[in-house]
Amino acid sequence: MNAAGAAPGAYGPHARKEDARFIRGAGTFVDDVALTGMLHGAVLRSPLAHARITGLDISAAAAHPKVEAVITGQMLAEQGLAWMPTLSGDVQAVLATDKVRFQGQEVAFVVAQDRYSARDALELITVDYEPLPPLIDAKRALLDGAPLIRDDQPGRTTNHIFDWEAGDLQATDAAFAGADVVVARDLVYPRSHPAPLETCGVVADSDRITGKLTVWATSQAPHVHRTLYATFLGLPEHKIRVISPDIGGGFGSKVPLYPGYLCAIVASMRTARPVKWVEDRSENLMATAFARDYHMHGEIAATRDGRILGLRASVLADHGAFNATAQPSRFPAGFFSVFTGSYDVPAAHCQVRAVYTNKAPGGVAYACSFRVTEAVYLVERLVDALAIELGADPVRLRMRNLLRPEQFPYRSPTGWEYDSGDYPRTLAVALQTAGYDDLRREQAERRGRGELMGIGVSCFTDAVGAGPRAHMDILGLGMADGAELRVHPTGKAVLAVSCQTQGQGHETTFAQIVAAELGLSADDVEVVHGDTDRTPFGLGTYGSRSTPVSGAAAVVAARRVRERARIVAGAMLEVSPQDLAWTGGRWQVRGDPGRSVGIPAIAMAAHSALDLPDGIEGHLDDKAVYNPPNLTFPNGAYICVVDVDPGTGVVTVRRFIAVDDCGVRINPMIVAGQVHRGLADGLGIALMQEISFDADGNCLSGSFMDYLLPTAVECPSFELAETVTPCPHHPIGAKGIGESATVGSPAAVVNAVIDALRPLGVTHIDMPMTPANVWLAIEAARARDGRE
C-alpha cells in the first residue's frame, strides 16, 4: 500500500455506515419523498415505433375531477422546451410534437391528485397517429431510401450519426498482410438494460415565492443535471437544488436526463405544487437508457506459433432514435478503442459507425466503462477463436501474448497509457484458484461420456476514472471533482463530495479514506453527498470514477488539512512545523516520540484562543479539485465453468472465479461485493438478458417476465482472489472496481459455453445464450454432422 502516512488500520473491511438505515427500511428513496400538497404525474407513451402525430385531444383527461394539469409537446414548444439537450450534443423530444420515433416515447404528461387518477386520465387522451415504416435493424437504417427518422434536423438526409476511428490503419493492414493466420468473427453485443431495482423518478418542487427549484431525482450526476436544468430552463443555477437521495442502483442508467424529470419540473412550475413522477418497470425497460447494441466485425492476425500481430474491428452502433449516450463528449464511441485489451498487440485499428433507429435512445450504460464491455468482449472472443484456429490452449495463447509487468506504463497502439499491472501473475492466480489443469482433465473425462462441460477464460483491462479535463468533458464540463473537508473542534470531520452513491458504499469508503489520512476513526468522519447545495461541483458517479477522481480529491483535501494541522501543532508544541513528522496518525516532534499531538487536539487548538502562527487563519478545513492526470486501468482474469444440457440447451454456471487488480483496496469487503454484482451481470448478459423488438418495433422485453434477470438460483457461489499493483498516479494507488466484473465476465461465460460445445464443432453463438439459442446451435451442428 502506498498511502503515504496512512494511519494503520483505517483501510480494511469495515461494516457499512449506510446499512443502519437500509436494514430498518428507513432509507429515503425518491418515491419515499412525500411533500405537502404533492401531485402525481404519469406519462402517456407512444404505442408505435414510428408515426406522425396528426391529432391530440386532451380535453377529457383535463376534465377528470382529480386532474390538475395536462401537458403536451405543443405547450412545451411554446416555452421553447419541447426538445431537450442530450449528453451527446443531440436533442431529444421531451414530449413529441411532430412524430414519435420509438415505442414508449413520451407524448403527454398528466398531473393528478394521486397516482391512480393520473394513470386513469392517460386513458382519456386520444392521439391520432399516421404510421410510418419503422427501422429496427441498424444495417437497414443505412440503406438508400431508408425512411428518415430525424427529419426534425434541417438538412439531414440519412440516419447516419457519426463515423469515428482510432489506431493506425496502414500499420494494421501491413500486420495483417504479413500474418500466417487471420481469424474473423461477426459478433453482436445485444441490446441490454441495466434494470436497477429502483426505476427512475423525480419529485420537483418549484417555490413560487423564493424562486427556488428543488429536484429530488434518481440522478447519478446531480451537479451535471443542475447545470443542464439551468441552461435548458433558463433558471439561475443558484436557484436550483438537485438532491439525489438514496438511489436503488444506477449502473449508468441514471446519468442521462429523462423527459419525465423535465415534465415534472414544468408541471410543478405550472401548478405551484410539488410533483412526483416515478416510472413503472415497463417504462423503465422500454424508454430509459439501454446498453450496448453493438454489431461488431473483428479480425485478429497472428503468427502460426501464436504471437498476436494485429487487431481490427469495424462496428455498427445502434443509438436508437436520439443520440443520447452518456460519455466524455470527445469520445462518441466511448473508450471502445481500448479494444487491444490485456495483450501486447503491435498494430490495431477500429472504426465505429453510429446510426439512428426507431428504438429507445441510450447505448452507454450498464457498468460498461464507456463501451469497454464491448471492447473486452470482442478481443476475448477473437483470442478464443484464434486458439481454436491454432489448436492452442486458450490459456497458453493468452499467457504468450499478455502484457508483461516491465512494459508498464504501456502505450497501447490506439493511444491509451495503461498505468500498472501484473497480468501474467493475475492469470496465474486465476488458474491456480480454479485448479485449471484438473478442470481440463475432468472435462476430458466428461467428454468421453458425452457430457458438455466448458471452461471459459477472459482477461480484461478496464479504463476508468474519467478523466483528465484536457481531454475529457461532458458538454464542456471538465471531468474534475471537488471535495471539501471540515474538522470540527472536537476532531470529528465532515467530508463533502460531488459523487453520489447508488449502493457503492461511499459513506463508508470515503470516511475510511479521510480517516487514514488524518489518523481518525472512520466512524468519526461523516460523508455528505448527493445534494448540490451541500457539496462541491463534480461530474458524478459512473464509469468507476468515484474512487479514482472524487476519492483522490478527498485525499488531497485531507492532506491539505494535515499540513494546516502541522502548523497548528508546531504552535502547540512550540517547535517549527519543519521539525514535525507525521507518524502513526499524529504530528510528532522528530526524534522525540513523547511529544506529539493528534488531529482532535489540533482541531480544538485551531478553534481556540491559541496564538496561531502567520499564514494560518484558524479553524481546520480545506478543499481540493482533482483533475486526474490519466485514467486508471483495473484489470483481471476470470474463469467460468459451465455444464450444458445437450437435450435442452440449458447452461448451468457451475463455478465463477474472478481475480481482480483494482490497485489498493480501501474496503476489501465492499470491493468483493462490487465484483459479485458484476459477475452476476456477466452471467445474465451472456445467458438471458436481451431487449429485443419485433419487425414493427414493438419492444418484446418490456417486463421482468420477458427480460430475464439472474436470481439466486442461477448464480453460483463466486470465488474471488486478488493481485495488487498500486496505480502510480493516484494519490493512494486505487484504480476503481465498480465496473470491472461487468466488463470482464460476459466473455468468460460465452467462451465457456463455446468450449463446452467444441466437440460438436460449434464456434460461435451470439448472446444471450438462452436454452433455445444453444439448443438450436447444437441441432444445427448435429445436422451438419449428419450431412457430412
Binding site: 446499512d19 431495482l197 418497470r281 421482468f704
Partner: protein, 171 residues
C-alpha cells in the same frame, strides 16, 4: 370501501379504493416506505411483506384482501431496540448495497428461518428465488441468511435447528 388491517401490531382503519394495492396502502396511506415497489409483474420481490405468517408480494395483493388480517413489514423486524438476527446478518456479511431489495429479502429470510432454522445454502437460494437483487450477485445475501441462522442457534440452543439438534430443521 372501509378496511381494518393490523400492521406491525397496530390497527389501522381506512377508506380505500377497492383496487388499491397493499404496497401502496402501506407506503402511501400508512407512510411505511420500507417496503419497496420494483416491477409491474410480481417478479422482483422488493415488496415482500407478511400477510399473517406468510410472505406475500404486496404489489399483487389488494389492500382489501388484507382486511381483518395482520401484516408485518420490515419496520417491525427490529423489536425493543434489538435487531433481528437477519438484520444483523445483512450488515455483518455485506448483504446489501443499494438497499432497495433488502427489506423484501429480509422478510423472506425471516420467514424461511422461522420454518427452517438451519437451511443449507441451496435452500436459502431456493427460498429467495422469487426475488431479484441487482447489486450483490446474491453471494452475500446467502451468507447473511446463513449467518443469521447460526447466530440465532447460538443465542438459543434449545431452538429447533440449534446446535443441540442434528442440524436439520423442520422441512
Amino acid at each position: 370501501m372501509r378496511i381494518t388491517v393490523i400492521v406491525n401490531g397496530a390497527s389501522h382503519t381506512r377508506e380505500v379504493e377497492p383496487r388499491l394495492l397493499l404496497i401502496h396502502f402501506l407506503r402511501d396511506d400508512l407512510g411505511l416506505t420500507g417496503s419497496h415497489w420494483g416491477c409491474d409483474t410480481s417478479n422482483c420481490g422488493a415488496c415482500v411483506v407478511w400477510l399473517d405468517e406468510t410472505p406475500v408480494k404486496s404489489c399483487t395483493v389488494l389492500a382489501a384482501m388484507a382486511d381483518g388480517h395482520r401484516v408485518r413489514t420490515v419496520e417491525d423486524l427490529e423489536r425493543g431496540g434489538v435487531l433481528d438476527p437477519v438484520q444483523q446478518g445483512f450488515t455483518e456479511c455485506h448483504g446489501l448495497q443499494c438497499g432497495f431489495c433488502t427489506p423484501g429479502m429480509m422478510m423472506t429470510a425471516r420467514a424461511l428461518l422461522d420454518r427452517n432454522p438451519n437451511p443449507t445454502a441451496a435452500q436459502v437460494r431456493e427460498a429467495l428465488s422469487g426475488q431479484i437483487c441487482r447489486c450483490t450477485g446474491y453471494e452475500n445475501i446467502v451468507r447473511s441468511v446463513l449467518w443469521a441462522s447460526a447466530r440465532q442457534a447460538e443465542a438459543d440452543p434449545a431452538r429447533p435447528g440449534g446446535p443441540a439438534l442434528d442440524g436439520r430443521g423442520p422441512a
